[in-house]
């Protein structure tokens, strides 16, 4: 089998696995939120506990009428969901689920992930601009503000494990955590980096308390206010794919990926559990905080998170350099 065919097959499988996972992660989030709010959540569609609810939602969205506002910029408006979705799904290309199991374990995996996930802002802005709606426009404006402010701390936090492992390759980073996961590295260094990563993740994923793009109580639904039917579901798919992708990244960089007790075949299972843990932490925060204001979001990023992550990265670099000098 030629490598091209092999990668095509793996890519197809991963893509479909991601879409299936996105579908069921929505159910997980709804159930989790329901527990927090002393409710039951989806129950009757696919009794018991609403196992078919995501399928029903997807079918409903597919059958909805697709409305294009008369004043919309049609090309931009119609392209935006795709432009948004592609980078969100593409990030999975570099994620290895176990040693050798993944689409492409690039030697610049982390860089690829960060670069591609930053691209989603283009789709966001196209959606906000193309809709020709004031709420959507304001939301697009906020999106640009927020992504610019939070991509830097996000990248700096993600670089801490990279420096510790001395590689941008995901599998090497995981193997470097065989002794100790990076979340526990060097006293408070690892935990702080992990927390900064989580906060930046919340902002990059546009989740409460940083969901000012969506802000349904002010901007109704933000940049996707004019989208309906399948285009809306593509945007939602992208958002959740991005969220899961970042959870996987968190599990890879800080929680030791597929490392865990038990035989090797349990690796992917451990990995999935850790990613779910990151996802649930993010969800937990989402359902217990109120949203903060755009100026406060920017203040948190530029005045607190950016200096903190930069400092962490520098300290990490010093520690690693000192250790290698001492060892040599």
């Amino acid at each position: 089998m030629s490598p091209l065919v092999y990668h095509a097959i793996v890519g197809f499988v991963v893509l479909n696995a991601v879409i299936g996972m996105v579908t069921y992660v929505t159910l997980l989030e709804r159930k989790f939120a329901a527990r927090m709010q002393s409710r039951i959540g989806p129950y009757y569609v696919g009794w018991p506990h609403g196992w078919l609810q995501p399928i029903a939602d997807a079918l409903k969205l597919m059958m909805k009428e697709d409305i294009v506002p008369r004043a919309a910029d049609r090309w931009v408006y119609n392209l935006a969901p795709l432009v948004f979705l592609v980078p969100c799904v593409l990030v999975f290309a570099t994620i290895p689920f176990a040693p050798g199991l993944g689409v492409a374990d690039l030697n610049i995996g982390v860089l690829f992930f960060l670069a591609v996930s930053a691209l989603e802002i283009v789709g966001l802005f196209m959606g906000g601009w193309g809709s020709n709606n004031k709420y959507a426009l304001l939301s697009a404006m906020r999106a640009v503000n927020q992504i610019i402010s939070y991509d830097l701390p996000f990248i700096f936090a993600a670089l801490v494990p990279v420096v510790l492992a001395g590689s941008l390759q995901m599998s090497t980073i995981v193997e470097a955590q065989r002794g100790l996961w990076f979340v526990g590295a060097y006293g408070i260094l690892g935990p702080l980096a992990f927390i900064a990563f989580l906060v930046a993740t919340l902002a990059a994923e546009n989740r409460v308390p940083f969901d000012i793009l969506e802000a349904e109580s002010e901007l109704v639904a933000g940049f996707r206010v004019e989208y309906s039917g399948m285009k809306f579901s593509l945007i939602m798919l992208g958002e959740y794919a991005h969220m899961i992708g970042t959870s996987f990244l968190g599990a890879l960089l800080f929680l030791g990926g597929w490392l865990g007790p038990g035989p090797a075949w349990m690796g992917p299972l451990w990995f999935l559990l850790k990613a779910l843990f990151v996802f649930l932490v993010v969800t937990w925060v989402r359902w217990s905080f109120v949203r903060i204001r755009v100026d406060q979001i920017l203040a948190i990023s530029w005045k607190l998170l950016l200096p903190l992550t930069l400092l962490l990265l520098m300290i990490t670099a010093f520690v690693v350099a000192a250790r290698s000098a001492g060892g040599a």
């Binding site: 000012i212 989402r286 905080f289 109120v290 949203r291």
Partner: protein
């Protein structure tokens, strides 16, 4: 009609302005409020408040319905705290007609008014947090918690009057229903539970830095502005003026009850929140006192009123005011000796509270508009009537 043209300009250095229509159909319009915002970037520089989308001719209706019929319509002015408007109307009729109310009925009125205040504040807390926190976020969590407690109060009302939202509990000369067997005990348990839950909300909100930065220093109503615009209820008490009709002009035996009137001086959203949180506890205290000291005796001075035209009020006029959950609710009644009022005028608490918005919103961000509006707690049934 019903348009307020009061706008306040603040000098911001921006060059381009965007006029955005917020409402009348908007997730956090709390009904049908339309705010025409002029924006410079994210900052609101002027706001025009437009009301009147829920006008239902309440005052004209009152002229066409008898004194026996109207209380159940009066409850539809402020449908979130229906007991308040009913009480204001029957109190006005009793004042003009010089009708006494038995002691037990007075105490029952206090009891339901305070339970209603608890229910109304529960709804306020939930919707306000949802304005700030999003229907898909932490705000919704608080909303569902608060609604759960409101449901308990509505259950009490259901077993008392048979209705959950619009009660028809008050009638001229007293109240229509007496407390059913076992109700007092249930009521006690419910308010105890709500008291504990209010502690939980406080812990959840006040230890949360994001909640504090969203509310402290936002939407400040100064003492002077509060007096000038004539806001009432938690708004004026949040601005440092200890004005509460229950205390300044006691009605329905409020003088016999021991309760505090909470006052905060900051005048911001957080001060209004604190006032309402203390009011939760004070209302619970009053409910307990009312249950303990409930007098024996008749519940109405005119028992057996069957025909809708049976109550006739001599010629005269009068004004009564009571402290509702949102502030001072007034009812001005002119009687001409028949079975129906000649003229009725409502003074809605939400109406006068809403008038402060064009003064305090300019200069804030869009996100604060919804936080400020939620802290004013308007009910548009009462604004437009």
């Amino acid at each position: 009609m019903g348009e307020t043209t009061q706008t306040v300009e603040v000098g911001y250095g921006g060059t381009e302005r965007l006029v955005m229509n917020m409402g009348p159909q908007h997730p956090s319009a709390h009904g049908v409020f339309r705010a025409i915002l002029t924006l410079e970037g994210e900052t609101v520089v002027a706001v025009e408040a437009v009301i009147g989308y829920l006008h239902r001719c309440h005052e004209k209706l009152a002229e066409n319905l008898t004194y026996v019929q109207y209380p159940s319509i009066a409850s539809k002015t402020d449908y979130v705290s229906a007991m308040t408007a009913e009480l204001a109307y029957v109190a006005a009729v009793e004042k003009v007609g010089k009708i006494d109310v038995p002691r037990r009925a007075q105490q029952l009125r206090v009891l339901v008014a305070e339970l209603q205040r608890i229910a109304s504040h529960c709804l306020w807390l939930g919707t306000w947090c949802m304005d700030m926190g999003g229907a898909l976020g932490g705000g919704a969590t608080i909303f569902l918690y608060a609604i759960r407690e409101r449901e308990l109060v509505l259950d009490l009302f259901e077993s008392l009057t048979g209705a959950r939202l619009l009660y028809g509990f008050h009638q001229v000369g007293g109240v229509r229903y007496d407390v059913p067997a076992g109700w007092a005990e249930r009521c006690r348990q419910t308010v105890d539970l709500i008291g504990r839950r209010v502690d939980e909300y406080e812990a959840m909100l006040e230890d949360n830095p994001f909640f504090l930065v969203r509310t402290q220093g936002v939407g400040v109503i100064s003492r002077e502005l509060a007096q000038e615009v004539g806001v009432c209820g938690p708004l004026i008490r949040g601005s440092g003026i200890p004005y509460d009709v229950r205390r300044t002009e006691p009605y329905s035996s409020y003088q016999d009850f021991d309760f505090k009137v909470p006052v905060e001086t900051a005048g911001d959203c957080f001060a209004r929140y604190r006032v309402r949180m203390v009011e939760f506890r004070e209302s619970i205290k009053i409910v307990r006192q009312a249950l303990d000291g409930l007098a024996e005796g008749p519940i109405s001075s005119r028992p057996g009123v069957k025909s809708v035209g049976q109550v006739r009020i001599p010629k005269g006029e009068g004004y009564t005011r009571i402290e509702g959950a949102r502030g001072e609710v007034g009812c001005y009644l002119v009687a001409d000796g028949g079975a129906k009022p000649y003229r009725l005028k409502w003074r809605g608490a939400s109406f006068s509270n809403l008038a402060v918005l064009p003064y305090i919103i300019p200069g804030h961000k869009i996100a604060d508009v919804v936080a400020i509006m939620g802290s004013v707690d308007p009910v548009f049934g009462e604004v437009d009537r």
